[in-house]
Protein backbone atom coordinates (compact mmCIF):
# COMPACT_ATOMS: atom_id res chain seq x y z
CA UNK A 1 0.00 0.00 0.00
CA UNK A 2 1.41 3.38 -0.95
CA UNK A 3 0.77 5.46 2.15
CA UNK A 4 2.61 8.44 0.76
CA UNK A 5 -0.13 9.20 -1.69
CA UNK A 6 -2.56 9.50 1.20
CA UNK A 7 -0.70 12.43 2.71
CA UNK A 8 -2.43 15.71 1.87
CA UNK A 9 -0.57 17.45 -0.93
CA UNK A 10 0.01 20.71 0.85
CA UNK A 11 1.55 18.81 3.77
CA UNK A 12 3.63 16.56 1.56
CA UNK A 13 5.02 19.56 -0.28
CA UNK A 14 6.40 21.26 2.79
CA UNK A 15 10.17 20.72 2.67
CA UNK A 16 11.95 18.97 5.53
CA UNK A 17 13.15 21.37 8.20
CA UNK A 18 16.77 22.43 7.71
CA UNK A 19 17.16 22.54 11.45
CA UNK A 20 15.97 18.99 11.90
CA UNK A 21 18.59 17.66 9.49
CA UNK A 22 21.30 19.52 11.31
CA UNK A 23 19.99 18.34 14.65
CA UNK A 24 20.34 14.76 13.52
CA UNK A 25 24.02 15.20 12.78
CA UNK A 26 24.55 16.85 16.19
CA UNK A 27 22.86 13.91 17.87
CA UNK A 28 25.52 11.54 16.57
CA UNK A 29 28.32 13.46 18.27
CA UNK A 30 29.52 13.66 21.84
CA UNK A 31 30.30 16.70 23.96
CA UNK A 32 29.07 19.24 21.48
CA UNK A 33 28.80 22.79 22.72
CA UNK A 34 25.62 23.91 21.09
CA UNK A 35 25.04 27.53 20.17
CA UNK A 36 22.01 26.30 18.29
CA UNK A 37 19.48 26.11 21.10
CA UNK A 38 16.73 28.65 20.67
CA UNK A 39 15.57 28.60 24.26
CA UNK A 40 16.82 30.18 27.51
CA UNK A 41 19.42 28.28 29.52
CA UNK A 42 17.81 29.63 32.68
CA UNK A 43 15.32 27.55 34.54
CA UNK A 44 11.83 28.96 34.95
CA UNK A 45 12.04 31.18 38.07
CA UNK A 46 11.19 29.11 41.10
CA UNK A 47 8.15 31.11 42.20
CA UNK A 48 6.54 30.46 38.80
CA UNK A 49 7.26 26.73 39.00
CA UNK A 50 5.97 26.81 42.56
CA UNK A 51 2.73 28.43 41.41
CA UNK A 52 2.26 25.56 38.94
CA UNK A 53 2.94 22.99 41.65
CA UNK A 54 0.54 24.74 44.05
CA UNK A 55 -2.10 24.85 41.32
CA UNK A 56 -1.87 21.06 40.97
CA UNK A 57 -1.89 20.58 44.72
CA UNK A 58 -5.10 22.55 44.92
CA UNK A 59 -6.56 20.19 42.34
CA UNK A 60 -6.93 22.69 39.53
CA UNK A 61 -7.02 20.25 36.67
CA UNK A 62 -10.22 20.95 34.73
CA UNK A 63 -10.89 22.74 31.44
CA UNK A 64 -10.87 26.51 31.43
CA UNK A 65 -12.90 28.84 29.28
CA UNK A 66 -11.83 28.55 25.61
CA UNK A 67 -10.43 32.04 25.72
CA UNK A 68 -8.44 31.25 28.86
CA UNK A 69 -8.80 32.04 32.59
CA UNK A 70 -10.47 35.46 32.95
CA UNK A 71 -7.94 36.55 35.55
CA UNK A 72 -5.09 35.69 33.23
CA UNK A 73 -6.66 37.50 30.31
CA UNK A 74 -7.11 40.60 32.43
CA UNK A 75 -3.51 40.37 33.61
CA UNK A 76 -2.38 40.05 29.99
CA UNK A 77 -4.37 43.12 28.99
CA UNK A 78 -2.78 45.05 31.86
CA UNK A 79 0.70 43.83 30.93
CA UNK A 80 0.32 44.76 27.28
CA UNK A 81 -1.07 48.18 28.18
CA UNK A 82 1.84 48.86 30.57
CA UNK A 83 4.66 47.53 28.43
CA UNK A 84 3.46 48.25 24.91
CA UNK A 85 0.97 51.06 25.33
CA UNK A 86 -1.86 49.22 23.59
CA UNK A 87 -5.29 48.87 25.20
CA UNK A 88 -7.10 45.56 24.90
CA UNK A 89 -10.17 44.36 26.74
CA UNK A 90 -9.21 41.22 28.69
CA UNK A 91 -12.67 39.76 28.25
CA UNK A 92 -13.16 40.14 24.50
CA UNK A 93 -9.82 40.82 22.84
CA UNK A 94 -7.45 38.33 24.45
CA UNK A 95 -7.05 34.64 23.60
CA UNK A 96 -4.73 32.42 25.64
CA UNK A 97 -2.98 29.97 23.35
CA UNK A 98 -0.61 27.03 23.46
CA UNK A 99 2.46 29.15 22.83
CA UNK A 100 2.82 31.86 20.24
CA UNK A 101 3.21 28.98 17.79
CA UNK A 102 -0.48 28.17 18.14
CA UNK A 103 -1.42 31.86 17.94
CA UNK A 104 0.36 32.15 14.60
CA UNK A 105 -1.37 29.06 13.26
CA UNK A 106 -4.79 30.30 14.45
CA UNK A 107 -4.28 33.76 13.04
CA UNK A 108 -3.32 32.44 9.63
CA UNK A 109 -6.13 29.92 9.48
CA UNK A 110 -8.63 32.56 10.58
CA UNK A 111 -7.56 35.08 7.95
CA UNK A 112 -6.28 33.31 4.89
CA UNK A 113 -8.40 32.19 1.95
CA UNK A 114 -6.79 29.80 -0.55
CA UNK A 115 -4.53 31.85 -2.80
CA UNK A 116 -4.16 34.79 -0.41
CA UNK A 117 -0.60 36.03 -0.22
CA UNK A 118 1.08 36.34 3.14
CA UNK A 119 4.22 38.44 3.27
CA UNK A 120 7.00 37.89 5.79
CA UNK A 121 10.55 39.14 6.17
CA UNK A 122 13.37 36.70 5.58
CA UNK A 123 15.50 35.30 7.26
CA UNK A 124 12.82 34.39 9.76
CA UNK A 125 11.60 31.78 12.17
CA UNK A 126 11.28 28.36 10.58
CA UNK A 127 7.54 27.99 11.11
CA UNK A 128 6.28 31.05 9.24
CA UNK A 129 6.45 29.83 5.67
CA UNK A 130 5.17 26.30 6.41
CA UNK A 131 2.35 27.71 8.56
CA UNK A 132 1.26 29.89 5.65
CA UNK A 133 1.29 26.89 3.33
CA UNK A 134 -0.68 24.81 5.81
CA UNK A 135 -3.30 27.57 5.91
CA UNK A 136 -3.52 27.33 2.11
CA UNK A 137 -1.91 30.71 1.67
CA UNK A 138 0.92 31.72 -0.62
CA UNK A 139 4.13 32.60 1.28
CA UNK A 140 5.85 35.71 -0.07
CA UNK A 141 9.31 36.28 1.36
CA UNK A 142 10.60 39.84 1.60
CA UNK A 143 14.39 39.75 1.84
CA UNK A 144 16.24 41.75 4.48
CA UNK A 145 19.86 42.72 4.18
CA UNK A 146 22.94 43.03 6.33
CA UNK A 147 23.35 46.62 5.17
CA UNK A 148 20.09 47.44 6.99
CA UNK A 149 21.05 45.23 9.94
CA UNK A 150 18.29 42.96 8.64
CA UNK A 151 15.49 45.44 9.29
CA UNK A 152 12.43 45.02 7.15
CA UNK A 153 12.09 48.12 4.97
CA UNK A 154 8.84 49.56 3.64
CA UNK A 155 10.46 49.88 0.22
CA UNK A 156 11.24 46.17 -0.11
CA UNK A 157 7.82 45.31 1.28
CA UNK A 158 5.97 47.50 -1.19
CA UNK A 159 7.81 45.88 -4.12
CA UNK A 160 6.14 42.60 -3.32
CA UNK A 161 2.58 43.75 -2.80
CA UNK A 162 0.06 42.40 -5.30
CA UNK A 163 -3.75 42.44 -5.42
CA UNK A 164 -3.62 39.07 -3.63
CA UNK A 165 -1.61 40.39 -0.64
CA UNK A 166 -3.60 39.87 2.52
CA UNK A 167 -1.38 39.57 5.58
CA UNK A 168 2.04 40.77 6.76
CA UNK A 169 3.89 38.72 9.38
CA UNK A 170 6.51 40.48 11.48
CA UNK A 171 8.88 39.36 14.21
CA UNK A 172 11.04 42.00 15.89
CA UNK A 173 13.34 41.48 17.71
CA UNK A 174 13.93 38.83 15.11
CA UNK A 175 14.88 35.20 15.29
CA UNK A 176 17.45 34.48 13.74
CA UNK A 177 19.00 37.85 12.97
CA UNK A 178 18.50 39.81 16.19
CA UNK A 179 17.21 42.69 14.08
CA UNK A 180 15.06 45.36 15.69
CA UNK A 181 12.95 48.05 14.05
CA UNK A 182 13.18 51.81 14.22
CA UNK A 183 10.10 53.94 14.77
CA UNK A 184 10.72 55.60 11.43
CA UNK A 185 10.70 52.37 9.47
CA UNK A 186 7.72 50.96 11.39
CA UNK A 187 5.72 54.06 10.54
CA UNK A 188 6.53 53.61 6.84
CA UNK A 189 5.61 49.94 7.00
CA UNK A 190 2.37 50.83 8.81
CA UNK A 191 1.57 53.27 6.01
CA UNK A 192 2.06 50.50 3.43
CA UNK A 193 -0.23 48.21 5.43
CA UNK A 194 -2.95 50.82 5.69
CA UNK A 195 -2.61 51.74 2.02
CA UNK A 196 -3.04 48.13 0.90
CA UNK A 197 -5.45 47.11 3.67
CA UNK A 198 -3.21 44.37 5.05
CA UNK A 199 -3.75 42.65 8.36
CA UNK A 200 -0.55 42.48 10.38
CA UNK A 201 0.52 39.60 12.60
CA UNK A 202 3.24 40.69 14.97
CA UNK A 203 5.24 38.09 16.88
CA UNK A 204 6.54 39.96 19.92
CA UNK A 205 8.11 37.02 21.72
CA UNK A 206 11.57 38.62 22.16
CA UNK A 207 10.36 42.11 22.98
CA UNK A 208 11.55 42.11 26.60
CA UNK A 209 15.04 41.15 25.50
CA UNK A 210 16.30 44.47 24.27
CA UNK A 211 19.72 45.96 25.02
CA UNK A 212 21.73 49.14 25.22
CA UNK A 213 18.70 50.91 26.63
CA UNK A 214 16.80 50.43 23.38
CA UNK A 215 13.08 50.47 24.01
CA UNK A 216 10.82 48.19 22.07
CA UNK A 217 8.07 49.61 19.89
CA UNK A 218 5.31 47.40 18.55
CA UNK A 219 3.69 48.23 15.23
CA UNK A 220 0.34 47.58 16.89
CA UNK A 221 0.79 50.74 18.96
CA UNK A 222 1.10 53.05 15.95
CA UNK A 223 -1.89 55.10 14.80
CA UNK A 224 -4.27 53.20 12.56
CA UNK A 225 -2.70 49.85 13.37
CA UNK A 226 -4.46 48.44 16.41
CA UNK A 227 -7.59 47.80 14.39
CA UNK A 228 -5.73 45.71 11.82
CA UNK A 229 -3.12 43.93 13.94
CA UNK A 230 -3.02 40.64 15.79
CA UNK A 231 -0.54 41.12 18.62
CA UNK A 232 1.04 37.85 19.68
CA UNK A 233 3.28 37.30 22.67
CA UNK A 234 4.14 34.66 25.21
CA UNK A 235 6.25 33.57 28.13
CA UNK A 236 8.85 31.27 26.63
CA UNK A 237 11.79 33.62 26.28
CA UNK A 238 11.35 36.45 28.80
CA UNK A 239 10.20 34.15 31.61
CA UNK A 240 12.06 31.01 30.46
CA UNK A 241 8.84 29.01 30.22
CA UNK A 242 9.37 27.28 26.87
CA UNK A 243 8.05 23.88 27.95
CA UNK A 244 4.93 25.30 29.55
CA UNK A 245 3.56 25.98 26.05
CA UNK A 246 1.64 29.14 26.85
CA UNK A 247 1.15 32.35 24.92
CA UNK A 248 -1.57 34.75 23.80
CA UNK A 249 -3.03 36.77 20.99
CA UNK A 250 -4.59 40.21 21.42
CA UNK A 251 -6.68 41.66 18.63
CA UNK A 252 -9.93 43.48 17.92
CA UNK A 253 -12.76 41.31 19.25
CA UNK A 254 -13.92 40.17 15.81
CA UNK A 255 -10.51 38.75 14.95
CA UNK A 256 -10.11 37.16 18.39
CA UNK A 257 -13.53 35.57 18.01
CA UNK A 258 -12.51 34.09 14.65
CA UNK A 259 -9.34 32.59 16.13
CA UNK A 260 -11.26 31.32 19.10
CA UNK A 261 -13.59 29.40 16.78
CA UNK A 262 -10.65 27.33 15.56
CA UNK A 263 -9.00 27.08 18.98
CA UNK A 264 -12.15 25.85 20.68
CA UNK A 265 -12.47 22.85 18.40
CA UNK A 266 -8.81 22.09 17.89
CA UNK A 267 -7.40 22.64 21.39
CA UNK A 268 -10.38 23.60 23.61
CA UNK A 269 -8.14 25.50 26.03
CA UNK A 270 -4.49 25.89 26.98
CA UNK A 271 -3.24 23.89 29.95
CA UNK A 272 -4.69 25.20 33.19
CA UNK A 273 -1.43 24.53 35.01
CA UNK A 274 0.45 26.61 32.48
CA UNK A 275 -2.14 29.35 32.74
CA UNK A 276 -1.80 29.51 36.51
CA UNK A 277 1.97 29.68 36.15
CA UNK A 278 1.64 32.40 33.52
CA UNK A 279 -0.50 34.50 35.86
CA UNK A 280 2.21 34.27 38.52
CA UNK A 281 4.79 35.27 35.93
CA UNK A 282 2.88 38.39 34.94
CA UNK A 283 2.13 39.41 38.51
CA UNK A 284 5.51 38.74 40.13
CA UNK A 285 8.03 37.94 37.42
CA UNK A 286 9.38 41.38 36.45
CA UNK A 287 12.61 41.24 38.52
CA UNK A 288 13.46 37.82 37.08
CA UNK A 289 13.04 39.09 33.54
CA UNK A 290 15.36 41.99 34.27
CA UNK A 291 18.01 39.71 35.78
CA UNK A 292 17.97 37.40 32.80
CA UNK A 293 17.96 40.29 30.37
CA UNK A 294 21.06 41.73 32.02
CA UNK A 295 22.81 38.39 31.76
CA UNK A 296 21.95 38.08 28.09
CA UNK A 297 23.33 41.57 27.51
CA UNK A 298 26.73 40.62 28.90
CA UNK A 299 26.84 37.53 26.80
CA UNK A 300 25.77 39.44 23.72
CA UNK A 301 28.63 41.87 24.24
CA UNK A 302 31.02 38.97 24.57
CA UNK A 303 29.89 37.04 21.54
CA UNK A 304 29.71 40.07 19.22
CA UNK A 305 33.22 41.17 20.21
CA UNK A 306 34.54 37.65 19.73
CA UNK A 307 33.10 37.24 16.26
CA UNK A 308 34.39 40.60 15.08
CA UNK A 309 37.81 39.95 16.59
CA UNK A 310 38.16 36.76 14.58
CA UNK A 311 37.27 38.60 11.39
CA UNK A 312 33.66 37.47 11.00
CA UNK A 313 31.55 40.57 10.59
CA UNK A 314 28.79 40.63 13.16
CA UNK A 315 26.57 43.61 13.92
CA UNK A 316 25.62 44.23 17.55
CA UNK A 317 21.91 43.37 17.73
CA UNK A 318 19.58 45.33 20.00
CA UNK A 319 17.31 42.39 20.75
CA UNK A 320 16.60 38.65 21.04
CA UNK A 321 19.40 36.26 22.01
CA UNK A 322 20.84 35.54 18.61
CA UNK A 323 23.67 36.92 16.54
CA UNK A 324 23.90 36.41 12.81
CA UNK A 325 27.55 36.76 11.79
CA UNK A 326 28.69 36.77 8.20
CA UNK A 327 30.92 33.75 7.60
CA UNK A 328 31.52 34.22 3.89
CA UNK A 329 35.12 35.32 4.53
CA UNK A 330 36.00 31.69 5.13
CA UNK A 331 34.94 30.89 1.58
CA UNK A 332 32.49 28.32 2.90
CA UNK A 333 28.73 28.26 2.49
CA UNK A 334 26.51 28.47 5.57
CA UNK A 335 25.89 24.75 5.47
CA UNK A 336 29.55 23.85 4.88
CA UNK A 337 30.70 26.14 7.68
CA UNK A 338 28.21 24.68 10.13
CA UNK A 339 28.90 21.06 9.31
CA UNK A 340 32.68 21.46 9.25
CA UNK A 341 32.72 23.48 12.48
CA UNK A 342 30.62 20.80 14.09
CA UNK A 343 32.75 17.90 12.91
CA UNK A 344 36.13 19.52 13.53
CA UNK A 345 35.49 21.49 16.70
CA UNK A 346 32.29 20.04 18.20
CA UNK A 347 30.54 23.40 18.21
CA UNK A 348 27.04 23.68 16.76
CA UNK A 349 25.68 26.79 15.11
CA UNK A 350 22.69 26.82 12.77
CA UNK A 351 23.24 27.57 9.07
CA UNK A 352 21.52 30.81 8.05
CA UNK A 353 19.81 29.04 5.18
CA UNK A 354 17.63 27.12 7.64
CA UNK A 355 15.81 30.43 8.02
CA UNK A 356 15.39 31.24 4.35
CA UNK A 357 17.50 31.78 1.27
CA UNK A 358 18.44 35.31 2.46
CA UNK A 359 20.37 33.61 5.23
CA UNK A 360 23.11 32.30 2.93
CA UNK A 361 26.53 33.46 4.01
CA UNK A 362 25.50 33.67 7.66
CA UNK A 363 25.09 31.40 10.62
CA UNK A 364 22.90 31.86 13.68
CA UNK A 365 24.63 31.64 17.04
CA UNK A 366 22.48 31.71 20.13
CA UNK A 367 23.91 33.20 23.30
CA UNK A 368 21.33 31.71 25.64
CA UNK A 369 24.08 29.61 27.12
CA UNK A 370 26.44 30.13 30.04
CA UNK A 371 29.37 32.47 29.67
CA UNK A 372 31.70 29.59 30.43
CA UNK A 373 30.37 27.55 27.53
CA UNK A 374 30.32 30.61 25.32
CA UNK A 375 34.00 31.30 25.94
CA UNK A 376 35.03 27.77 25.08
CA UNK A 377 32.82 27.78 22.00
CA UNK A 378 34.15 31.11 20.73
CA UNK A 379 37.74 30.01 21.26
CA UNK A 380 37.06 26.88 19.19
CA UNK A 381 35.30 28.86 16.48
CA UNK A 382 38.27 31.22 16.38
CA UNK A 383 40.60 28.27 15.87
CA UNK A 384 38.37 26.89 13.15
CA UNK A 385 38.26 30.20 11.28
CA UNK A 386 42.04 30.60 11.48
CA UNK A 387 42.63 27.06 10.29
CA UNK A 388 40.14 27.39 7.46
CA UNK A 389 41.61 30.67 6.26
CA UNK A 390 45.02 29.08 6.47
CA UNK A 391 43.83 26.21 4.32
CA UNK A 392 42.35 28.68 1.85
CA UNK A 393 45.60 30.62 1.60
CA UNK A 394 47.55 27.43 1.01
Amino acid sequence: MNLKKHIAHHVRDIPRSGIRDFFEIVQTMKDVISLGIGEPDFNTPWHIREAAIYSLEKGRTGYTSNLGLPRLRDAIATYVAEHFGIQYDGRTDVLVTVGVSEAIDLALRALVNPGDEVLFHEPCYVSYSPSITLAHGVPVAVPTFARDNFRLTAAELEKRITPASKVLMMNFPCNPTGATQTREELEKIAAVCVRHDLVVLTDEIYSELTYDGASHLSIASLPGMRERTIFMHGFSKAFAMTGFRIGYACAPAILTEAMMKIHQYGILCASITAQDAALEALEQGAPDVENMRREYELRRNYIVSSFNEMGLECFRPFGSFYVFPNISRTGLSSHEFSVQLLKQKSVAVVPGTAFGASGEGHVRACYATSLEQLKVAMARIGDFVRETKGARAA
Binding site: I37, S305, A348, V350
Partner: protein, 159 residues
Protein backbone atom coordinates in the same frame (compact mmCIF):
# COMPACT_ATOMS: atom_id res chain seq x y z
CA UNK B 1 26.75 47.94 42.12
CA UNK B 2 29.19 48.28 39.25
CA UNK B 3 28.58 45.32 36.88
CA UNK B 4 32.33 44.75 36.97
CA UNK B 5 32.06 43.93 40.67
CA UNK B 6 29.19 41.53 40.03
CA UNK B 7 31.29 39.69 37.47
CA UNK B 8 34.33 39.55 39.75
CA UNK B 9 32.20 38.29 42.59
CA UNK B 10 31.00 35.48 40.37
CA UNK B 11 34.46 34.57 39.14
CA UNK B 12 37.44 36.66 40.22
CA UNK B 13 39.59 34.61 37.86
CA UNK B 14 38.01 36.12 34.75
CA UNK B 15 40.64 37.50 32.40
CA UNK B 16 40.54 41.29 31.94
CA UNK B 17 40.14 40.73 28.19
CA UNK B 18 36.95 38.74 28.79
CA UNK B 19 35.65 41.30 31.27
CA UNK B 20 36.37 43.96 28.66
CA UNK B 21 34.33 42.11 26.06
CA UNK B 22 31.38 41.53 28.36
CA UNK B 23 31.22 45.12 29.55
CA UNK B 24 32.12 46.90 26.30
CA UNK B 25 35.22 48.49 27.84
CA UNK B 26 38.94 48.19 27.13
CA UNK B 27 41.20 45.90 29.14
CA UNK B 28 43.33 48.81 30.48
CA UNK B 29 40.15 50.51 31.73
CA UNK B 30 39.16 47.30 33.47
CA UNK B 31 42.56 46.96 35.12
CA UNK B 32 42.52 50.57 36.24
CA UNK B 33 39.09 50.18 37.77
CA UNK B 34 40.06 47.03 39.62
CA UNK B 35 43.21 48.68 40.96
CA UNK B 36 41.14 51.58 42.23
CA UNK B 37 38.63 49.30 43.94
CA UNK B 38 41.46 47.43 45.64
CA UNK B 39 43.01 50.66 46.82
CA UNK B 40 39.73 51.97 48.17
CA UNK B 41 38.99 48.75 49.98
CA UNK B 42 35.89 48.02 47.93
CA UNK B 43 37.54 44.77 46.92
CA UNK B 44 38.92 43.21 50.09
CA UNK B 45 40.56 40.19 48.54
CA UNK B 46 40.28 37.18 46.27
CA UNK B 47 39.89 33.64 47.53
CA UNK B 48 39.20 30.27 46.01
CA UNK B 49 35.95 28.83 47.37
CA UNK B 50 36.86 25.36 48.57
CA UNK B 51 34.81 22.26 49.16
CA UNK B 52 36.43 21.27 52.46
CA UNK B 53 35.02 17.74 52.18
CA UNK B 54 37.35 17.19 49.29
CA UNK B 55 40.47 19.02 50.43
CA UNK B 56 41.34 16.19 52.80
CA UNK B 57 41.76 18.51 55.77
CA UNK B 58 38.90 17.58 58.08
CA UNK B 59 38.53 21.01 59.66
CA UNK B 60 35.72 21.63 62.11
CA UNK B 61 33.64 24.76 61.84
CA UNK B 62 31.56 26.27 64.62
CA UNK B 63 28.98 29.06 64.57
CA UNK B 64 29.04 30.86 67.91
CA UNK B 65 26.42 33.26 69.23
CA UNK B 66 28.17 35.70 71.52
CA UNK B 67 26.47 38.06 73.97
CA UNK B 68 28.65 41.02 74.97
CA UNK B 69 28.32 44.13 77.06
CA UNK B 70 28.53 47.20 74.87
CA UNK B 71 31.05 49.77 76.07
CA UNK B 72 30.69 53.47 76.66
CA UNK B 73 32.09 55.33 73.69
CA UNK B 74 32.73 52.17 71.70
CA UNK B 75 29.51 50.23 71.52
CA UNK B 76 30.25 46.75 70.32
CA UNK B 77 33.06 47.75 67.98
CA UNK B 78 36.08 47.39 70.23
CA UNK B 79 35.16 43.96 71.45
CA UNK B 80 34.17 42.80 68.00
CA UNK B 81 37.48 44.01 66.58
CA UNK B 82 39.35 42.20 69.31
CA UNK B 83 37.50 38.95 68.70
CA UNK B 84 38.04 39.28 64.97
CA UNK B 85 41.80 39.35 65.45
CA UNK B 86 41.95 35.65 66.33
CA UNK B 87 43.18 33.43 63.50
CA UNK B 88 40.53 30.88 64.45
CA UNK B 89 37.79 33.41 63.66
CA UNK B 90 36.93 33.43 59.96
CA UNK B 91 33.83 35.65 60.17
CA UNK B 92 32.48 38.08 62.73
CA UNK B 93 29.18 39.97 62.42
CA UNK B 94 27.11 42.24 64.64
CA UNK B 95 23.55 40.92 64.57
CA UNK B 96 20.07 41.98 65.59
CA UNK B 97 18.05 39.58 67.74
CA UNK B 98 18.75 37.42 70.77
CA UNK B 99 22.56 37.78 70.75
CA UNK B 100 25.11 40.34 69.63
CA UNK B 101 27.95 38.85 67.65
CA UNK B 102 27.88 35.92 65.28
CA UNK B 103 31.33 34.40 65.18
CA UNK B 104 32.35 31.63 62.80
CA UNK B 105 35.47 29.80 63.91
CA UNK B 106 37.53 26.98 62.42
CA UNK B 107 39.73 24.45 64.17
CA UNK B 108 41.41 21.09 63.61
CA UNK B 109 39.13 19.29 66.04
CA UNK B 110 36.02 19.80 68.11
CA UNK B 111 38.22 19.98 71.20
CA UNK B 112 40.42 22.62 69.60
CA UNK B 113 37.43 24.85 69.02
CA UNK B 114 36.02 24.13 72.44
CA UNK B 115 39.38 25.14 73.94
CA UNK B 116 39.47 28.28 71.89
CA UNK B 117 36.03 29.29 73.10
CA UNK B 118 36.64 28.38 76.71
CA UNK B 119 40.15 29.79 77.04
CA UNK B 120 40.31 32.67 74.61
CA UNK B 121 36.83 33.84 73.64
CA UNK B 122 34.73 33.53 76.78
CA UNK B 123 37.47 34.94 78.94
CA UNK B 124 37.47 38.30 77.21
CA UNK B 125 36.26 41.08 79.49
CA UNK B 126 32.83 42.04 78.21
CA UNK B 127 31.82 38.64 76.84
CA UNK B 128 28.71 37.59 78.77
CA UNK B 129 27.93 34.24 77.20
CA UNK B 130 28.48 32.05 74.17
CA UNK B 131 26.29 29.46 72.47
CA UNK B 132 28.17 27.18 70.13
CA UNK B 133 26.77 25.22 67.19
CA UNK B 134 28.95 22.86 65.22
CA UNK B 135 28.50 22.81 61.49
CA UNK B 136 27.63 19.36 60.19
CA UNK B 137 27.21 19.69 56.43
CA UNK B 138 27.74 22.31 53.76
CA UNK B 139 25.10 22.63 51.01
CA UNK B 140 26.01 26.02 49.64
CA UNK B 141 29.20 28.05 50.17
CA UNK B 142 29.49 31.72 49.19
CA UNK B 143 26.77 31.37 46.60
CA UNK B 144 28.06 28.12 45.15
CA UNK B 145 26.01 24.93 45.39
CA UNK B 146 28.14 21.95 46.32
CA UNK B 147 25.88 19.53 44.48
CA UNK B 148 25.70 20.75 40.93
CA UNK B 149 23.29 19.30 38.41
CA UNK B 150 25.16 17.76 35.54
CA UNK B 151 24.56 17.93 31.86
CA UNK B 152 22.46 19.84 29.41
CA UNK B 153 18.76 19.20 29.75
CA UNK B 154 17.83 20.97 26.54
CA UNK B 155 17.54 19.60 23.01
CA UNK B 156 20.82 20.15 21.22
CA UNK B 157 19.32 22.14 18.38
CA UNK B 158 16.01 24.01 18.53
CA UNK B 159 14.61 26.70 16.26
Amino acid sequence: MDPLLTLLKRDAHTAPEDLARELNLSAPEINARIARYEEEGVILGYQAILNTDKTGDDLVTAVIEVKITPERGGGFDRLAARISQFDEVTNCYLMSGGYDLLVIAEGRTLQAIASFIAEKLSTIQGVISTATHFRLKVYKENGVLLQREKGEARLAVAP
